[in-house]
């Protein structure tokens, strides 16, 4: 008998997600999913990454050289931005407009705290350079001479910076001046200077958002480039393939592209969770999800519609606007560690202050004395006394009770009443965020399934669902490796976004076909002439009549009317090039159906089922939780 044909080797896929406390690694190997975990190493995240990889490979019995695909989500750019760390950077703008980023949109940070300031500018005034030459909406008004370019290069040289951001007015559509300055800088300084040009980084109009994004890109890229350099070196020494890096858009890109454009990866970490949400949405046959990731200090929410994570064309992160495609994630300051307190009007408040990981909730026994959401859950028996959390923390119910008793006395409430109040107030904060998030986007939360994950998500899921009128909840059995799983299965993507501003008759089939080019997906930002906000519609055909119809029907559903007489304007085209990722078989969670009230310990979290709710195993490694309607 002839030996059996050797099976073509199945891909061995590795995903590594760096979180605040732990770095998680997931290996998908022939339909089986393995997990490994190591403490995050904030001074150099690559050490923790390699540790976690070592662990997961050991569990799976694989050698580094056998990994075929490696995807990585990290928080290097995010942390640098939030901590205001950046490379020494200069900013080049049109003469008379060098303060664009500092002026911002001229609104103040807080309505009533008058001296509250926005984050300090990444580039101080003495490193802002005014350039001659000027473009208007129709093109060049004043030329940029070789002498003018030389002048800019000399100023950069004298400043001795590591990085330069260039943002000229109308460069999104008339990039020649920016390109000339960029070419001269690259020629003169080569690899010793990072250069970010606004038309390359952003490509859309509205100068403040484009300039601020370009500045972030320039200020963070040298830092990110150093980190990725260390990581690639460590991987190659370990015999691992080079990683693909998660972008804020939820798609992967090469190390080289990520290192050159740090602005693309500011939401790299949370985007992994969003990618995982899209993955389980498809695996579980639940196309519309409201995702709710509640951890120790905060809660991230995002929307999956029709199996796709909802994206936005821009968002502000830590007070810095980023005008780039990214997963549309909102963060609320409510987590397990959020501290409950009595305010001066005698009301019970929760957060935004958090006990964090150290000292953590009173129940951790690390010296925390203020009552937190976790303490309330423990006092009400939703977390069990003596149970172990991730990170080997044993919960101490007595400590939690003491902390809550003190607040209860201040408020004139019983201990249980106070604990229930803490949970109700915390839940109402999250419900408020979810409501505004859905209304702003024109969605009705009742038609969604709630996907709850993170250490504290499954504890609060049913209460949130009840408030929002949601009847079904999904919870991953192993939430700890959820984001890493999303990374492992994500697509590779490249986005190209460009403002084009075509009006009425100029929107022809030929023009649209040329704009689509060989993109795999295309969407168009349109508006009625005179409006200052655009609506994004995807219309792959490139037929002007259909494009107008798609826009008008989107406008009607969003704004309640059409304006058939008005001219339409095509403002921006968004093109995406995609190499699909793998679709791992996650299998169904094996799980006996149970009914509330009771708590269920999962791998990395505890699920609380109140009376009237029941849970059972479901495809995609999930538990499906639903309301027994017979009440």
């Amino acid at each position: 008998m002839a030996p059996p044909e050797p099976e073509p080797s199945a891909p061995v896929i590795l995903g590594v997600d760096v979180g605040g406390t732990f770095t998680d690694a997931v290996l998908i190997d022939g339909g089986r999913v393995f997990a490994g975990k190591a403490p995050t190493t904030p001074e150099d995240q690559s050490a923790g990454v390699l540790d976690a990889i070592g662990k997961v490979l050991a569990v799976a019995g694989r050698a580094p050289g056998q990994v075929t695909n490696f995807s990585h989500g990290m928080t290097v750019a995010t942390n640098a931005l939030l901590e205001n760390r950046s490379a020494d950077t200069a900013f080049v703008a049109d003469r008379g407009f060098t303060d664009l980023v500092e002026i911002g949109r001229q609104n103040r940070a807080s309505l009533y705290r008058l001296q509250a300031s926005r984050p300090a500018p990444l580039v101080p005034p003495e490193k802002r350079i005014g350039s001659a030459g000027r473009n208007g909406p129709e093109g060049e008004i004043t030329p940029l001479t070789a002498e003018d370019v030389r002048h800019v290069v000399e100023r950069v040289d004298r400043l001795g910076v590591e990085s330069v951001a260039v943002c000229l007015l109308h460069a999104d559509r008339h990039p020649a001046h920016e390109a000339a300055i960029g070419a001269a800088l690259r020629e003169r300084f080569g690899d010793s200077l990072h250069v970010s040009l606004s038309h390359e980084v952003v490509g859309t109009f509205r100068e403040y958002e484009r300039a601020a994004t370009t500045e972030v890109d320039a200020a963070l890229s040298p830092l990110l480039s150093k980190y990725l350099g260390r990581l690639v070196k460590a991987c190659s020494e370990a015999g691992l393939t080079e990683p693909a890096i998660m972008q804020s858009s939820g798609g992967l890109t090469s190390v080289e592209n990520a290192a050159g454009h740090a602005a693309l990866t500011v939401l790299s970490g949370p985007a992994g969770g969003a990618a995982a949400a899209a993955l389980v949405s498809r695996a579980a046959g639940a196309p519309d999800l409201l995702c709710f990731d509640m951890g120790g200090t905060s809660c991230d929410v995002c929307v999956v519609e029709d199996g796709m994570v909802r994206e936005t064309g821009g968002k502000s992160i830590g007070g810095h606007p980023l005008a780039l495609p990214m997963v549309d994630i909102d963060t609320v300051g409510a987590g397990g560690g959020s501290i409950a307190w009595r305010d001066s009007g005698g009301a019970l408040r929760v957060g935004p202050r958090s006990a964090g990981a150290m000292p953590g909730p009173a129940a951790y026994g690390h010296g925390g004395t203020e009552p937190t959401v976790t303490d309330a859950n423990l006092v009400l028996g939703r977390l069990s006394d003596g149970s172990e959390l991730a990170g080997r923390i044993t919960l101490d119910r007595e400590a939690a009770e003491t902390a809550i008793a003190r607040l209860a006395a201040e408020l004139g409430l019983g201990i249980e009443q106070c604990a229930e109040g803490i949970l109700r107030v915390a839940n109402s904060e999250m419900v408020r965020a979810l409501r505004v998030m859905t209304v702003e986007r024109g969605l009705d939360p009742r038609r969604f399934t709630l996907l709850a994950f993170g250490g504290a998500g499954p504890l609060h899921a049913t209460a949130i669902a009840e408030e929002l009128g949601i009847e079904r909840i999904l919870v991953p059995v192993d939430g700890g490796v959820f984001s890493a799983l999303g990374l492992a299965a994500a697509d590779r993507r490249r986005d190209s976004v460009r403002t084009v501003l075509l009006r009425g008759e100029a929107i022809t089939a030929a023009a649209l076909t040329e704009l689509i080019g060989d993109a795999d997906e295309v969407s168009w930002d349109l508006r009625y002439r005179g409006q200052s906000f655009e609506l994004s519609v995807s219309e792959p055909s490139g037929d002007p009549g259909r494009l107008r119809e798609s826009f008008e029907s989107a406008h009607e559903s969003m704004y309640g009317y059409r304006d058939e007489d008005a001219q339409i304007e095509l403002v921006t085209v968004r093109r995406r090039y995609i190499e699909p990722g793998v679709s791992p078989d996650l299998g169904a969670a094996r799980f006996q159906e149970v009914e509330g009230p009771r708590s269920i310990d999962l791998e990395q979290a505890t699920l609380f089922l109140p009376e009237g709710w029941s849970a059972r195993g479901h495809a995609g490694g999930l538990l499906s939780i639903s309301h027994s309607k017979a009440m």
Binding site: G96, F97, T98, D99, L100, E102, I103, G104, R105, Q106, N107, R108, S110, L111, Y112, L114, Q115, A116, S117, R118, P125, G136, P137, I141, L169, H170, D172, F205, R206, E207, Y208, D343, S344, G345, G346, A347, L348, L411, G412, L413, Q417, G421, R424, V425, S428, E429, V431, R432, R435, V436, V439, Y528, G530, Q531, S532, F533, M558, Y559, G560, D563
Partner: protein, 509 residues
């Protein structure tokens, strides 16, 4: 003195009050989201010059979304103007008459009653939006030199808002299509708010919702009282000048703190202005409420309960409590800022730029309205921020690229006006410079303040630089200095340059 000794049974439930406050704030935020999303004009969508609030069935404002401070204290007057009428489900009211619940004509307020499932009135949803044009003599309806209300646009006394009313009033305005779309967006926003109130009533029960609203009002009141009681009892006073068309006007304040109450008495301020700097009393009160929030606790919810400890005294028929048919367009945008300043100054604050620097440009083809940021006053612990809106406004700018694409204008400069903030231990914020060139003939109107009198510092800090309005005719390089309130025309190639004031310094340098 401290809190009123409340008996345990009358004390609001510490959990319910927080949850109700959150649910009502959420309703207001949703209304704001619907309004901004569905409006048509840049002024609402891009600059966010709008506000939303919910009221109880007595017409008391329980909660407001945090948008524009000048709307904060003046929304209740709009609801009061219609609260006693007969209400029916789905029938909204609208108004802009400054002497019957409005502020200035461009601010149109829409009020919609909310009912429970048995048809009982449970409250009102209301929102206000600054419309880019409401008719009148000049595009943009912000004339610098108006002397009667009628010159400033269409006056809408409180009336039922239906398609006929919309058609009637918008036909008297420029860009009527846009006005209609914006009004419909305002109705849609209120519908969302009224719906949310009805849901809360269904959930809690109508009586319980009423009690919960009362407890939110009391809660805001108690927090305000607690903080006022920490201010030493006594008389605090301040005076200042307002830069009117026909010369300076006097602003005078005597504030008295007694226990947990505070009163602002403006007796001694100027008589009614022959120009348009007049305020209806609701605008003056609004500025006082803003200042109290700044000097007490910025976290107190935006609820009329917080206004209960505040008394505002202004003799009728004067600048700060004007009678019809006085012109008022600058009262809301300029005088209001200076009234807030006066209150802050009485309590030892260094002052910000004290103006919104209103610029309107237009001809029969377009209207462009913009307000400009400037320096904020420094505080005892921090410098004042630069190039921001400082008091009663917090709208966004129009991006240069959007401006140049939409309008026949070219920006020449947009920068921080370095060194314009007052020196001190903490520096006042710097103002900004915005210069534009006209590419075709057009008219301009400027409503600005602090061109003659500099924003003062405090505790030994120096005053900031005053603002300047400059016009440079094409082909010359000798700018002509314009008055704080100025109207005129620009030819193609003429340049208008606004240099906004800085903020005062705090503490000796």
């Amino acid at each position: 003195m401290g809190l009123k000794p409340a008996s345990p049974e009358s004390r609001p439930d510490p959990v319910e009050v927080q949850i109700t406050a959150g649910a009502l704030a959420s309703a207001c935020e949703e209304m704001g989201a619907v309004l901004v999303r569905s409006a048509h004009s840049a002024n609402i969508k891009e600059r966010r010059d709008c506000s939303a609030a919910v009221f109880d069935s007595n017409g008391e404002m329980v909660m407001q979304a945090e948008h524009i401070p000048v709307h904060l204290g003046s929304m209740p007057a709009s609801v009061a103007a219609v609260a006693d009428r007969e209400h029916h489900p789905g029938v909204s009211w609208f108004l802009n008459d400054p002497f019957a619940g409005g502020t200035h004509l461009p601010d149109i307020t829409v009020v919609t009653p909310a009912f429970d499932d048995r048809g009982r009135l449970i409250g009102f949803a209301a929102n206000r939006a600054h419309h880019a044009d409401v008719g009148g003599r000049l595009p943009g309806s912000m004339p610098a030199d108006s002397r009667t209300l009628a010159e400033e646009g269409v006056i809408i006394p409180p009336r039922v808002l239906d398609e006929r009313a919309i058609a009637e009033v918008t036909s008297l305005m420029r860009q009527p299509e846009q006005r209609r779309a914006d009004l419909r967006a305002q109705i849609a926003a209120n519908r969302a708010g009224a719906h949310r109130l009805a849901e809360l009533a269904a959930l809690k029960g109508t009586e319980e919702l009423g009690r919960a609203m009362d407890s939110v009002l009391e809660y805001a009141e108690n927090r305000t009282r607690t903080r006022i009681s920490e201010i030493p009892d006594g008389v605090y006073s301040a005076s200042d000048k307002l830069e009117a068309l026909d010369g300076d006007l006097d602003l005078k304040l005597t504030a008295t703190v007694r226990g947990e109450d505070i009163s602002f008495d403006f007796t001694g301020s100027s008589a009614q202005d022959s120009g348009n700097l007049n305020c209806p009393i609701s605008v003056t009160a609004s500025a006082c409420y803003f200042a109290v929030r700044v000097i007490t606790d910025p976290d107190i919810p935006a609820s009329a309960g917080a206004y209960r400890p505040i008394e505002v005294v202004v003799p009728e028929g004067t600048l700060l409590n004007a009678n019809a048919p006085a012109a008022v367009v600058a009262g809301n945008v300029e005088t209001s800022s200076r009234v807030a300043d006066l209150c802050l100054r009485a309590f030892g604050h260094a002052l910000g730029q004290g103006t919104m620097n209103n610029v309107t440009l237009g001809n029969d083809r377009f209207t462009y309205y913009e307000t400009l940021g400037g320096g904020q006053g420094a505080g005892p612990d921090a410098d004042g921020p630069s190039a921001v809106h400082v008091a009663m406004s917090n709208t966004l700018n129009t991006p240069i690229e959007a401006l140049e694409i939409e309008f026949p204008l070219r920006a020449v400069e947009y920068s921080i006006r370095r060194g314009s903030g007052g020196r001190g231990e903490h520096r006042g914020g710097d103002g900004l410079v915005r210069e534009v060139e006209a590419l075709e003939p057009m008219e301009f109107a400027l409503l600005t303040e602090r061109r003659r009198h500099r924003p003062p510092g405090a505790a030994g800090g120096e005053p900031a630089a005053a603002g300047r309005n400059l016009l440079t005719a094409r082909g010359t390089d000798r700018p002509e200095s314009l008055e704080p309130k100025a109207t005129g025309s620009l030819n193609s190639g003429d340049r208008l340059r606004i240099e906004t004031p800085g903020g005062g310094g705090y503490g000796a340098a």
